[in-house]
């Protein structure tokens, strides 16, 4: 059972990291700089990833404790609620008929709608993780080998987003509401 938790937490974290990577792909390959709400949703994804990464980091001491599962699940739910609020806000801004939406759709659905789906699934997964603690035995296991690379990948993704948003906003406090380029280089 502890290994299932670690596998699920690793898959969860990497899914969120890959979503952040896909957002970069849209940003640079499709040439669509993220709007402020898009950036807030990216921040929500980073918040969410802290949950499973917390569980992985906590296991370095040798066990997947119920306490760590509870904290990781709590992080996931709180972060998921924040992200869902941000993405639902953007969905509602474009809900009127004939509104083309913001940015290019992926598989027929806009990125903010995908984000809303991701946040809802993340909240559900965090809840299931908490319920599953019923069957979690307290026993020591070997350190999970993917902890370092997962936490490192998340840190790298956060740093990349910091650089991206600084390039986009330049020396301005806020981002433009409909960005078309990178103010730092203008």
């Amino acid at each position: 059972m502890p290994h299932i938790y670690l596998l699920a937490a690793t898959a969860n974290a990497w899914t969120l990291i890959l979503i952040l990577g896909a957002a970069f792909w849209v940003q640079f390959a499709a040439g669509e700089p993220p709007c402020p709400l898009c950036v807030l949703q990216r921040i929500g994804l980073m918040f969410c990833a802290l949950g499973p990464v917390y569980l992985l980091i906590g296991q370095r001491n040798g066990d997947v404790s119920v306490r760590n599962v509870a904290v990781a699940g709590g992080i996931g739910i709180v972060a998921g609620l924040f992200g869902a609020a941000a993405s639902a806000r953007q969905v509602l801004l474009h809900i009127l008929p004939d509104d083309p939406g913001f940015g290019s759709p992926v598989l027929g659905i806009h990125l903010y709608t995908w984000c809303l789906i991701a946040f809802i699934v993340h909240i559900a997964a965090s809840g299931l993780m908490l319920i599953g603690a019923t069957w979690l035995p307290e026993r020591r296991i070997k350190p999970w080998p993917l902890t370092g690379v997962t936490a490192g990948a998340l840190a790298a993704m956060v740093i990349a987003n910091i650089l991206s948003v600084i390039a986009e906003a330049g020396f301005h406090w806020e981002l433009p509401s409909d960005p078309t380029g990178y103010l730092l280089f203008k």
Binding site: C35, P36, L37, V39, L40, I43, M46, F47, L50, V53, Y54, I57, V71, I75, V78, A79, F82, A85, A86, R89, Q90, L93, F102, A151, L154, A155, V158, I159, N161, I162, V165, I166, A169, F171, H172, W173, E174, L175, S177, D178
Partner: protein
């Protein structure tokens, strides 16, 4: 720049988690709270940061 500060705070939380520092959770909650306040401020003043 404001968003970069939010993200930098996430990076600090991650670092605190890695080191097992007891400030990790309070810092996480504070970062979420401040970012949420910012989001709510946007919701109550339409067409400022949203498209």
């Amino acid at each position: 720049m404001l968003y970069a500060i939010f993200m930098a705070a996430i990076l600090v939380v991650l670092g605190a988690m890695w080191r097992g520092h007891r400030a990790a959770m309070p810092l996480f909650l504070a970062t979420v709270a401040v970012t949420t306040v910012y989001l709510i401020a946007d919701m109550t003043s339409p067409l400022t940061l949203s498209f």
